[in-house]
Amino acid sequence: MAERGVTPSQTVGPFFAYCLTPEAYDARGIAGNEIATPDAPGRRIHVEGRVLDGAGEPVPDAMVEIWQADGEGRYADAAGNAAFRGFARAETDVDGRFVFVTVKPGPVPGHDGVSQAPHIAVSVFARGLLNRLATRIYFDDEPANSGDPVLALVPAERRDTLIARREAEGVYAFDVRLQGEGETVFFEI
């Protein structure tokens, strides 16, 4: 079969909201910032944070998407599970803030029988980002982090940029720094 090159990525630009996160326009979106109904297995948590640029200024026109396993470490599949889609989307506000209402994911399989610590896969989109940026959210109260094969690939001094801090019961803080001091680790996937 003929080889075809992939279609290159382009920025979402500043004006995606009325299509991708259209609640403010009274339109129906395919996903909001809430990942699961109360029926989904797992402990309900909030993940809250800000997207910041290289000058430390908030990015008020970003979109953050998350993809994760449920509380038992299962990803949603095509068979469908109305209570848990595993995917959510949030736009940042004028202060660069986003919030996800989700469940704490369970551990999921990695390679060679090594389990991965609970984590959330993240894509960040914004004006100025020609490609979506992929990162992960881990949790600072997870002993399994020390054995996680992906965290082990990250230079030790930058690892904490991937780890959400527990702020209160059920509330975790995770900032995305696009550039500069404390720059978040982004992955080539």
Binding site: P8, F15, F16, C19, I30, W67, A78, Q179, F186
Partner: protein, 239 residues
């Protein structure tokens, strides 16, 4: 990282622009400076959200409908197929599009361009690809508009496309352009793609077969998502 842990080949990524493209001013404070960390493809990357036909209402592929009257502008049909780089169709994938109106103005509250808003055009649409990866939208040709990237900067006419594909890895947001647009050669966003052949994949082709007599001009735009390599990795057990 051994290649055996990557189900989607890395080479495909060379089609994409670099994060840091100085001519596109907004990258200067937003592009990461540190190298990306290369990830193996685990269950996290090989799974992804599934949005089937229930996610797009039938009327959502027609951006000219749903308002009090017809929008102003040149009515067009944009059609094509979503394939992976091995030529396999990608069925049941959600496509979301958004665009400016025919005067070059977005409905978005932050669009300050002094061009008229068309009350009969919102500019957002949604469709799910069929069994052969095919899709079609009915819309109007968007206008070019000025932006403040540099002196006398104008964006070429374009439609934004967002696709999921079968996995977290295959997620793509891109822009479709129109053939023969003189602004393409001057646009830092389009020009950010290093390989001219890859760049041209973003230009739709005028298609007389799709053009509907007395009604709408037709454009074809095929989208190619990353495909899994010929040598599959060990497939992690889905627990």
């Amino acid at each position: 990282m051994s290649d055996t842990t990557r189900a989607y080949p890395r080479e495909s990524l060379s089609a994409h622009p670099p994060n840091d493209a100085p001519a596109y001013a907004s990258t200067r404070l937003r592009a990461p400076r540190q190298p990306l960390v290369i990830l193996p493809h685990t269950l996290t990357e090989l799974t992804g959200p599934v949005y089937g036909h229930e996610s797009a209402a039938p009327g959502e592929s027609d951006l000219t409908a749903g308002h009090a009257g017809p929008p102003l502008g040149e009515r067009i049909v944009v059609t094509g197929r979503v394939l992976d780089e091995d030529g396999r169709p990608v069925p049941h994938t959600l496509i979301e599009i958004w665009q400016a109106n025919s005067a070059g103005r977005y409905i978005h509250v932050n669009d300050r361009h002094d061009a008229p808003i068309d009350p009969n055009f919102t500019g957002a649409g949604r469709v799910v690809t069929d069994e052969s990866g095919g899709y079609a939208f009915t819309t109007i040709k968007p206008g070019a508009y000025p932006w403040r990237n540099h002196h006398n900067a104008w964006r070429p006419a374009h439609i934004h496309f967002s696709l999921f594909g079968p996995s977290f890895v295959s997620r793509l947001v891109t822009q479709m352009y129109f053939p023969g647009d003189p602004l393409l050669g001057l646009d830092p966003i389009y020009q950010s793609i290093p390989d001219p052949r890859a760049r041209e994949r973003l230009i739709s082709s005028f298609d007389i077969e799709t053009t509907t007599p007395e009604w709408a001009l037709g454009y074809r735009f095929d989208i190619v998502l990353r495909g899994r390599g010929a040598t599959p990795m060990e497939d992690p057990h889905h627990g």
